[in-house]
Amino acid sequence: MKSSIATTALLVAFGAASGAAAQDTLPISGKTCDQLLEQYAGLPFTDILPLEAGPVTVDGSEEEIVVGFSQTGFNHPWRISMLEAAQAEACRHPNVSMIVLDGNVDVAKQNNDVRDLLARGVDAVLLSPVESAALIPASRAVMDQGIPLIVMDRDVPTDKTLFIGQSNVTMGEKVAQKMADDLDGSGNIVVITGLQGSSPAVDRDQGMKNVLENYPDIEVLAVGDGEWIREPAVPIMEDFLTAYEDIDAVFSHAEESSWGAQLAIARANRCEDGILHYTFDGSNAGFKSVRDGTFRADGNYTPFIGDIGMRAALYTLTGREIPGAEAYSQPGQQLALPDSPTVVAENAEEWIGRGWGDFEPPLDPCK
């Protein structure tokens, strides 16, 4: 896709936009079923709700099954990886197709998207909500029509067929615990959050606070909003470095922001301080940064639940019971996923290739 000449590149881009349907590439991911099936073998959770490849039979017929997927937004590669996992599962079944809608990280748009899916007569809805509470009306609309609703990643506090997700709170606790252990229970830290107010940022922060309650000698000097990305983290960290001479660790909710913080440390000539990075996201690039010593720990939050969601929908449509589904604190049922271990120096090598994304980490400016 990366052409050598900018103008050509733009033309290619136009071409891809108009030609996507003509070829067999799937929407958003831009990959063919062949490519996705190759990836499928490497997905971590294919043994959960296992399903044979081949046509899916409902009431003895192999009619076309259309599964709608309303995603929070596709502004982050993590979200695309989740979609790819779902698309890969759909590719295994010739009579299963998907309608994919992009919520643009806007609850109002996503509510409309879900209703559009219903209007288009989908057989099941996969929903990964922008925000929990705001998607209640749309979720009710799905359940009222008797259509299976599989909620992924962030939950909706209303009735649903199944919720599948990992807990950002416990993941936050694990990473914070690793930090507390490394610091021997005392030190000064700064926090760079994900986009303030978004559920993973709130939950990861809560996890950290749960742990730090037990460590009164770990002081949070300051908190900044890194918005999940690199750019805002740089000036924030620069300012923190100016304001505080003694910083032991950066607790950041996103790998991108951690890389930005490391850049600020290098610019301030503070590499010698040995400031430690604790972060989240679970990308292969992040695991490499752990291996290379830039990060001490990376919360392993996997996007590869899209395929489980798809299988859960197909299980429900074919009347199969979902093993492991259980009642929980919210309406509906949940499928508890095994917690992925936090990636640290000892297990980084083992996890590289099992995270999401195939891009390289940035050069560590302190090396």
Binding site: M1, K2, A9, H76, T193, A222, E231, A243, E256, R267
Partner: protein, 328 residues
């Protein structure tokens, strides 16, 4: 249209250099400058590291991206236009720099990335000047369109930039000044000279004050308005260069909502949204006011939720002070 002076007065001032109008502009700018000085004084009391050289260098570097965008935005707003697409155009140039640098040298990648940004600006300009599409609508469309291009080009995944020379461009120093700051200063100086000393620059003011009068007096309004959007696009490409080289990543979401920061800097800097009045010097001061405020809020550890209140209040208060001083 609640401006305090009538557009023809400003037009006359711009074309003739009328002394009272010069004084008027000076007052507008000193009002903004006074706000900046006041903010700096207060900040220096709030944190004793604020006035340290490394911190001031940080501020100058931190404001460089939005500061550069705001320079282009000043041209557009002076013509009574608006360019909502600069953040997205920045995003396109950022992913192009990243993508091209995988196979090409900097000497190829940099001009092409900036040319692509100018091309998108040209589309804006033609739409506004010749197709009669209101600037707000035209550039709102481009905001979405250009962002889409950036996503398509990258497939939604950031492209890492592993070129060390490119990293040095964004993170190095020349004569002890951060390179991004030098790029900002160069952009300011060139723009300031163009606006003040060339017939084109003077026409930018007169178009914003009274487009019909400008046309009647022989100014090639359509051509000049087009050029203004090409400048804004090209300048967004330069800001994209600073972004990509500092951060070593071509992310398709680069520059989201930066258009609003750029507009805020221009407006706080005393340029009228109704066209014909303002300067890039004012814009630079406006940029610094916003940058210094963000810096001191971080230095003093103010909660990020509360920081948003300060930023919002500052924009309103700065414009209020400016309006008062211009009546004096």
């Amino acid at each position: 249209m609640t401006e305090t002076s009538s557009p023809p007065a400003a037009a006359r001032a711009a074309s003739t250099g009328d002394r009272s109008a010069t004084l008027y502009r000076l007052l507008r700018q000193t009002g903004v400058l006074a706000a900046l000085v006041l903010l700096i004084i207060v900040s220096s009391f709030l944190n004793d590291r604020f006035l340290s050289v490394p911190n001031l260098m940080n501020v100058l570097r931190q404001v460089s991206i939005v500061g550069i965008l705001a320079v282009g935005m000043t041209f557009v707003i002076l013509t009574k236009g608006i360019d909502l697409s600069v953040g997205s155009i920045l995003g396109v140039s950022v992913v192009l720099f990243a993508g091209l640098l995988e196979t090409q040298s900097m000497a190829v990648a940099i001009p092409l990335g900036i040319l692509a940004a100018m091309a998108l600006g040209l589309v804006n300009g033609l739409g506004v000047a010749f197709a009669g599409i209101p600037p707000f609508i035209m550039t709102l469309g481009m905001l979405s369109f250009a962002r889409g291009l950036a996503f398509i080009y990258t497939g939604g995944t950031p492209i890492p930039i592993l070129n060390e020379n490119f990293y040095d461009l964004g993170n190095g120093y020349t004569f002890g000044v951060p390179n991004p700051t030098l790029i900002l200063i160069a952009t300011l100086l060139v723009s300031g000279v163009v606006l003040a000393l060339t017939p084109f620059g003077r026409s930018v003011y007169s178009i914003g004050s009274n487009e019909d009068a400008s046309r009647l007096s022989g100014v090639p309004v359509g051509l000049y308005k087009t050029i203004v959007y090409v400048i804004s696009g090209g300048v967004a490409g330069i800001a994209g260069l600073v972004y990509a080289s500092q951060l070593s990543v071509g992310t398709p979401i680069a520059g989201q909502a930066y258009e609003l920061d750029a507009i805020a800097a221009v407006v706080v800097g005393g340029t009228s949204l109704f066209g014909g009045k303002g300067s890039v010097a004012g814009t630079f001061i406006g940029t610094l006011i916003i940058g210094v405020l963000a810096n001191i809020l971080n230095l003093t550890g103010v909660d990020p939720f509360v920081q948003q209140l300060f930023k919002g209040a500052l924009i309103v208060v700065a414009v209020f002070i400016m309006a008062r001083s211009s009546r004096a």
